[in-house]
Structure formats: C-alpha cells, structure tokens
C-alpha cells in the first residue's frame, strides 16, 4: 500500500495526481470467508480492520448494499465525546477517545481529529448541580471535565444570548476539553483503505437477502450477488438491524427513527467549540469549511426513510436561534436524515446471539459515530474470541431480561421521547 505523506503528495504532483493507487479495490465476492461483516459503514469497516490487525483474521468480507460510508457514518454531525456518567459508558467511550487521539497516525489517513471541547450549557442551579455530579463521575473515571461559570462562557461564546430576560439564561456549563469533532468520511475511508490493504474484501452493491443457518449454527449468507459461505457473521447495519434480525427470527429491543441534521452556508470562524443547548433541543459546531453543523431531536415517529420533515428542522433551529440569535441571518445549505437504531435504554448492544456464529452490533441511537473505533475494536474481539470483552460485557442483549439496563438519560423504553 502506498503511504500517504508530504513526499508522496509532491511526487504525485509531478504526474498531475493521475497515478495514485486506488484506496481500496472492488473485488468479486469469493465463495467462502472466515468472517462476513454485513454493513460497510464506520463500525463494519472498523470491525474488519481490527479483525485483521489485532486478531490476524484477514479472510474477511464486508458486504455493503449501497456504497461504503453512505449511511450514518456519512450523515452524522461528527462529534466525539466521552462525557457519560455510568461506568459502562464511561469506560467504553473513553477507550474510544484514546483511540481517536492517535487514529490519523494509525490509519495513515488524516481523520482531522479536533479536540476543540464540547460544552453542555446549563440554565439553572439544579442543572449546575447535576453537571457538577456528572463532571465528578467523569473525573473519577479518569475523563477530563471542567465546570464552567457564566463568566467563563461569556469569553468562550460571547455571541450567545447572555441577557437576563431570555427563557433559558445561561448559568454555566460542563465541558469536556478533549471532546470535539473528526472528519466522518475520512474515518470510513481510512479504515476501508487499511482493511483492504490487509486482505479484507470490500464488496459494495451487495445486499444480504437471507442467512443459511443449520442446527443453530450459521453457515453463510444469501446475497444479491450469490451465496457466500461464512464461519462467522457480524451485523453492523444500524438502522436496518431489525430487517436482518427478522430473517433470523430475532425480535430486538430496537426501533428505527429518523434523525435530521443540517448545515448553514460557510462563514468565517466564530464558534470554536461544540456547544449543546439541551434546553432548546439544539447543538452546533463549526466545520473546518466554516459551515455551522446543527442537529437536534428525532423527528419523533418510527421511520426507515433517510429523510425527515420540516417541522423538526424548524423546531431545532428555533431553539438554536434562542441561544445564538446572530445565526438568524445564516442561509441553510443542506438538510438530511439518517435512520437511528434506537435501543430501548439508549445504550448499544454488542453481543453474541442465540445463533452460533452470528454477532450483533446495534442500538447506537444518536451516538454511533464517536464509538466507531471502540465499537469496531470490541466487536472484532467478540467475533474473533467468540466472547465479549470486558468493555462491552454490559452492552449485552440479555440486559433487557435481567433488568441491568443502562439508561443514561432515564427516559425509559420510549426512544422518540429521548
């Protein structure tokens, strides 16, 4: 594989950049693989990468019904954080934050990790107390957290509405300085390129249409490009999880919902951090191109459509203008939607299943992007060793029967309310 560097860039400049190697190949599917990963998104690509790198399993295929990176890894708002309170989430996402810090070097691909800090705004003394508690929980788990006062925030986001008459006056906030953003497409492409180089077959336009299961053990998958035998099959299909689970007679604690995001026209740098305004169901960061990247709530009804409706965009931006009134003159550039695999407690499921050789990775709700490296890492471990890692032990499917649910937000089994 050609190494990307300033030297290769200069060298290729002399040939008008016409002789770069392809970043990943376009192979025909083989008849048999050790592991088949269904879903060529961030999690699937990362899983294949870590299977090859950490476990030496390279006879792997990624089956993607569309094109790699065309689902939620290309549709998110690129935010990275590990500001959770529960231990299971803290340990898992913090493991991921450490991976993000060196991911560009590891993949030889600039994922543009930008630890610009994520700020959650607070609007009452009670909320400040809750944030102090969460910040302390984070620090006890070795995660950085800083409690900010109103005066601190006036320096950091001076253009926010700090008047005393607004509906939600800013009292302060909780910041995770190492939180930030990364370039989402680069994450998918970086993993794809390295996985391909280690022998993984990335097979696009290949839809899984069925599973071959005999005596409780998986034998392979049926696809739109023929039958493929596999010793093990990992599912990383986010919003489409239920569609595959139905083929395996698995009923899951998952609902599909559409989440929208939008970007404004690009403007000069003004917003240096990721800011969440939970009271107004709004969060925002500024991309390196200068666009305001904005998001908020789910549309609020079950949906498999990768597009949403205007009322929620209006609702989100109304909240946004309440905290950043100067955004009112920005023009909207794009809106889009992705299908969230909303789990019933808001936490992911990374586990084995009742079928020998079938592994499940789903339930990412709104937070799948930041988990891409750690999800891939633990899922590869789970597949390779046929046992869960300590980091994903609590993200088991059985928790909905044992009662050990991980309901970080405390909203109960009504995902569209969260």
């Amino acid at each position: 594989m050609q190494k990307y560097s300033i030297f290769s860039l200069v060298k290729n400049a002399f040939s008008n950049h016409e002789n770069w190697e392809v970043a990943w190949k376009d192979p025909e599917p083989k008849s048999e693989y050790d592991v088949v990963i269904v879903g060529g998104g961030g999690h699937g690509l990362a899983t294949a990468y870590y299977l090859a790198k950490e476990h030496g399993i390279t006879n792997v295929a990624i089956l993607e019904k569309g094109w790699i990176g065309g689902g939620n890894v290309g549709r998110n708002t690129t935010i990275l954080r590990s500001n959770y309170m529960f231990d299971a989430n803290s340990h898992f996402y913090e493991f991921g934050m450490k991976q993000w810090e060196t991911l560009s070097q590891e993949l030889n691909y600039n994922v543009m990790y930008s630890p610009r800090g994520i700020i959650n705004l607070a609007h009452s003394d009670a909320q400040m107390n809750a944030y102090a508690r969460r910040g302390n929980a984070m620090r006890l788990n070795g995660i950085d957290a800083v409690l900010l006062g109103r005066e601190d925030l006036k320096k950091m986001i001076p253009f926010a509405d700090f008047s005393d008459t607004c509906r939600f006056p800013i009292h302060g906030g909780l910041m995770q300085p190492r939180g930030g953003t990364a370039r989402h497409d680069a994450v998918a492409w970086g993993y794809a390129r390295q996985a391909d180089a280690m022998g993984v077959d990335i097979i696009q336009n290949c839809e899984v249409t069925g599973f071959d299961v005999q005596n409780g053990k998986v034998q392979g998958v049926q696809t739109s490009r023929g039958n493929i035998k596999a010793k093990k099959v990992g599912l990383c299909v986010a919003g489409s999880t239920t569609l595959l689970a139905d083929m395996l007679n698995m009923r899951l604690p998952i609902e599909a919902h559409v989440l929208q995001a939008c970007v404004s026209e690009p403007v000069k740098p003004i917003l240096d951090h990721v800011v969440t305004f939970g009271a107004g169901h709004f969060y925002c960061s500024q991309s390196d191109k200068g666009e305001m990247v904005m998001g908020g709530d789910l549309d609020g009804y079950n949906s498999y459509a990768q597009r949403g409706n205007m009322p929620m965009i209006q609702h989100v931006l109304t909240g946004g203008l309440a905290v950043f009134p100067n955004f009112s003159r920005l023009k909207m550039l794009r809106t889009w939607g992705g299908i969230m695999d909303m789990s019933m407690d808001g936490s992911p499921i990374i586990d084995k299943t009742h079928i020998d050789g079938v592994y499940l990775n789903c339930g990412w709700c709104y937070g799948g992007f930041k988990a891409t490296p750690c999800s891939g890492w633990v899922f590869a471990h789970t597949i390779a060793k046929n046992e869960v890692h300590q980091l994903n032990a609590e993200f088991n499917l059985n928790r909905f029967h044992t009662g050990n649910i991980i309901d970080e937000k405390g909203v109960g089994p009504k995902p569209w309310i969260g």
Binding site: E255, A305, K414
Partner: protein, 90 residues
C-alpha cells in the same frame, strides 16, 4: 410535513400532533399470571417493521384525542386513521 387525518377533526398538519408509539403493544391484563419474559417483551421488544406500521397519535394541539394510524415507515404515507375503539377501514 405530514398531513394527518384526526378521526374527530379531519386533516390537520403534523405540528398539531404528538406521537404515541407502536399501537400493537398490548399491556397484559390486570392480575394476569404471565412470565417475566412476557413482561420484558411487552416493555422492551418491538416488531419495528419497514412498511405498514400501526401506531398511536394524539391530536395534542387540537381535540386532544388519542387515535390509531396506519402509516408506512419507509414512505411516510398514511393509509388510514381510526378511533381507538375502531378498526382501520381499509
């Protein structure tokens, strides 16, 4: 924008409604002896179909009545709505 036909008020825009989730879930009858697993299934597990979905909506900014809707989760088309004690007329 969805246009939803409230069985009491007629067609109204989506802004007037709030969603109530999967309309096929039935709470076990009071006092009924059921297994723990059946309880878990009732609380946490969903069919989550791609296509026709029976669901509950409330005309929260209108007559405030709850009602049932049959809607396509892939196209957002609403086939039919009916009162809670009725069946879809399809």
């Amino acid at each position: 924008m969805l246009e939803i036909k409230c069985p009491y008020c007629g067609k109204r825009s989506q802004n007037e409604f709030s969603y109530g989730g999967d309309g096929t879930i039935k709470r076990p009858a009071l006092g009924e002896e059921i297994s723990t697993k059946d309880w878990d299934d009732f609380v946490y597990f969903r069919d989550n179909p791609r296509g026709k979905h029976t669901e509950l909506w409330q005309h929260v900014s209108g007559c405030r009545q709850w009602f049932k809707a049959s809607r396509d989760t892939a196209t957002h088309e609403i086939f039919s709505t009916c009162k809670m004690n009725e069946d879809f007329n399809e």
